[in-house]
Subunit: 416 residues, 2 copies
């Protein structure tokens, strides 16, 4: 599977990743974009702001890969040393580049209060052997180096600066520089099977896959993503072959395949709502606004998402969502009776066609013998139908919030 | 700074990270826990499910580090090869371990419908030279290897399984096995300065830092984290010295230091609310429930968080939050008049002491010449006070949602 593809390695630089103060979301984003563009990401390496370690990582990466992409360590402050380290590695010197200052001036023109100080000025000092690529959304320029027909790029670690530069400049330039054969990935979302049960169910199909197609299982909060991958000189026949396999699989799994593309569950549900001309609202207790957040992360979600009531206290459940206080007293907030009334209440209040409500014990406290931490009731309602279901998740708060959110989104599918 | 510390490297295994289908949140969590426990995380390496590459990474890591922690690639399906690869690396064979089956039986006892199939059974085959550590929340056991006074551990990639095992088993065992000198990090959150401006403001102080203390700048959506780090045989005198430096810094920055610990902004605001016996509610348009989600991610947030109305449509702004429809017509939804009424409306509806409201254009569409994408109005209100402020963020939707959320949380500070 690895023949003929141009290999890329990412080296992220900065103490902050290695002491855990930030999560490296950049690399995942870069991985998607590189793969889409026909490159193979072969390794991600995270190292400290330490010159010797950076150079060692670069030397090793250059042995394995054709392209090395650095992120981070190019800010204006003293702890950032990537530029100096690369200058040393190439045995060159820093020179002043006027175009960087022009770019920063343009950048600051729209930001009252921002002025060029000596530290921003230092951004214009660049290694003499590099090609400077302007960072149109930040002050640190990108630097592009070529060595023995390989390419090394250093770019900012700030996510939106990196993303902007990768999309507009780096990927197109890399595609120009290298011949990039096509990689193909196809992903399906499967609902209702654990990873092992799914693997057994489709074992015969998996074992009969043509050798140019590989399969991966990616479980994600109640949904298993199945990803087929392959690369070929003849991308059309690979795609044909992959589609044949997907047809066979859909005969085995039927409706358990809820999507034939790699989309977030909220996008899947949003699309279903839009296709059916329906609007949705949410009444959230234990999920605390996270379902609303997932919907509103989708551009254009105002087409189908009306709004939400996060009803964390019982008082709000009765006063705003019209839950009967007797039912709260008799059955507790985490109960079928209450969650169904929450769903009905929010649908009427926000005048949506369908709605979803959650009430549960996210933890770490609040559990009882009857209703341990992780117990969650979810209801979905429409004008003429209501479906409710009890879930038992685990002991961890953030986990429970995410799993309840996912389950709530998926339960909406039953009522659309 | 690196002398005397036991070095750890993490190797994450799995195509899913390198094609970007998941973000590696495990490593950041492990980094925090390892640092707290006195280990130095020296490198994180992500590689494919590829035996040769896994072995190469392991051999390189063993040259640099004393401990190598593998995550991922130990599921029951065919694409997972870590166990087989380690068995090959140690030139040993797989043997059946009865205790793994006992553990799985216990695990499934509470899960109706889960039965041991041939794939879960295969989890009990482990390399003969390893120490098995039970995974009490999943089916794949952890395996612990010792080689030339170094330790290699293979653990699951599923975050809560990894976290459970690290906290309960791996870190205590590593602390037993190695002498772990103490590392010290202290972090302050600074608000109101960009990274460069802050660096200039504190340059004299930074240059006079004792050599055993190092400084890092970590900008994060309007807040800059300043992190002091050091390690020493004599941890008490290091801490004394670090505290002296923090005192000096607080004389320079005053109130711009909003916290003397590394806590999320929502926790900082939550603590302030609790200390003052106040409750909060949110009315969210462009942030779409994300402020509520941030608050409710905090265990015990029901002490101060009452709830939220996510008012994505104008209709809900008028019907539920009592915004005057003339003001919506005259000034538009993204305006001072509307956001102030949203703040007042939600505070009255949900009977909280203070409230915060957001209304803005998250993008990518909806911008005008007057109000480009990224324009956000935020208001905070209490019984006797209202503060509102206009922000201009950028062009990217998710970025705008996160920045508006952060700004809204920080504006609450002004009214508590």
């Amino acid at each position: 599977m690895t023949a003929n593809r141009v290999k890329v390695e990412i080296i992220t630089i900065g103490d902050e990743i290695l002491i855990g103060q930030i999560v490296d979301t950049n690399s995942a984003w870069m991985a998607v974009e590189l793969n889409k563009s026909g490159f193979e990401l072969a390794q991600i390496t995270s190292v400290h702001d330490d010159a010797a370690h950076i150079v060692e990582s670069l030397e090793l990466a250059l042995k394995r890969a054709d392209i090395v992409l650095f992120t981070g360590g190019i800010g204006p402050t003293n702890d950032d040393i990537t530029k100096q380290t690369l200058t040393g590695f190439f045995n060159t010197k820093l020179v002043f580049d006027e175009s960087v200052i022009r770019n920063i001036e343009q950048l600051f023109a729209n930001r009252p209060g921002f002025t060029i100080n000596e530290l921003t000025y230092a951004q214009a000092m660049v290694p003499e052997n590099c090609t400077v690529i302007q960072n149109v959304v930040g002050t640190a320029p990108l630097t592009w180096f070529e060595k023995d027909a390989k390419v090394i790029v250093s770019m900012p670690g700030v996510p939106y600066e990196m993303k902007n530069a990768m999309s507009r400049e780096i990927i197109p330039r890399l595609q120009d520089y290298f011949k990039t054969p096509s990689l193909l990935h196809k992903t399906m979302l499967v609902y209702g099977y654990g990873e092992s049960a799914l693997a057994l169910k489709i074992a015969d199909w998996e074992n009969a896959l043509p050798k140019e197609i590989s399969l991966a299982y990616l479980p994600n909060y109640g949904v298993v993503k199945l990803r087929l991958s392959g690369n070929s000189e003849d991308i059309l026949s690979l795609e044909f072959s992959m589609n044949q396999q997907i047809d066979l699989l859909s005969q085995i799994l039927g409706n358990a395949i809820i999507a034939y593309e790699d989309i977030p569950v909220e996008t899947l549900i949003g699309n279903l709502l839009k296709c059916n001309g329906l609007t949705v609202s949410t009444a959230e207790s234990c999920t605390g606004g996270n379902i609303a957040h997932r919907f509103t992360s989708i551009p254009g979600s105002s087409d189908f998402f009306k709004g939400s009531v996060v009803a964390y206290s019982n008082e709000i459940k009765t006063s705003v969502l019209q839950v009967a206080s007797e039912d709260l007293d008799n059955f507790g907030a985490v109960s079928q009776a209450v969650v169904e009334q929450m769903a009905i209440g929010v649908r009427r209040l926000l005048k949506s066609d369908v709605s979803v409500a959650t009430s549960g014990i996210a933890g770490p406290t609040g559990g009882t013998a009857d209703k341990p931490v992780g117990t969650v009731w979810i209801a979905v309602s429409s004008e003429d139908k209501i479906i409710s279901k009890e879930f038992r998740f685990g002991a961890l708060r953030e986990q429970n919030i995410q799993r309840a959110t996912q389950a709530a989104l998926l339960l909406l599918k039953e009522i659309i």
